[in-house]
Homo-oligomer: 111 residues x 2
């Protein structure tokens, strides 16, 4: 991930509804959720939801597929991982203080 991609991912996540959507989708894995379901969970009108979903899709943070008459969205976890990796290694150049925050978590994937 380069700076341009990181920028678009960061600004996509820097909005409440969109951060909520990503947090909702990550635990659903590749199975994902339909747009309607997402709208119910994040309490969001359809057209507003579509707007935010397409922003996340453009940033590469979620992927869309059709299932009958519904659209299923799922988190692009590799892109999210890429963003974290960018922050940790390209932005912060392996800085010890920053890295320690990651290591401090008891059950995180880095321990």
């Amino acid at each position: 991930m380069d700076q341009t991609q990181a920028l678009s991912a960061l600004s996509a996540l820097g909005q409440e509804t969109r951060l909520q959507i990503v947090r909702l989708l990550v635990p659903c894995g590749t199975e994902g959720l339909s747009a309607g379901e997402i709208g119910l969970r994040v309490n969001c009108a359809a057209s507003r939801l579509s707007f935010h979903l397409s922003a996340l899709e453009q940033a590469g943070l979620i992927a869309a597929r059709r299932d009958g008459r519904r659209m299923i969205y799922s988190a692009e976890r590799r892109q999210l991982g890429g963003l974290i990796d960018y922050l940790l290694n390209d932005c912060c150049v392996g800085d010890r203080v920053v890295g320690a925050m990651c290591l401090n978590t008891s059950d995180g994937p880095c321990t």
Copy 2:
């Protein structure tokens, strides 16, 4: 770090000039750089720079101190680490795919 703090950090970083500033300041550690120096390095007029510096400060990503007639800014590396930690552990709930991206880097702080 909670969702509110993460949101403000993410949206602060989702802007080119501000991401540049953070990338510039992290390697400088607690020593930091003066506003004028930062302005030269990121090619930014004084008032515009001030605007972005205060946005980063409000998000807790940088700290300011005065040294004579100059203001010295330094990265708040713990806050940056906290953001990464949030993305990895609270947002992504220790997701394996996301975590793997972090582990994959050869010389990152997580290996």
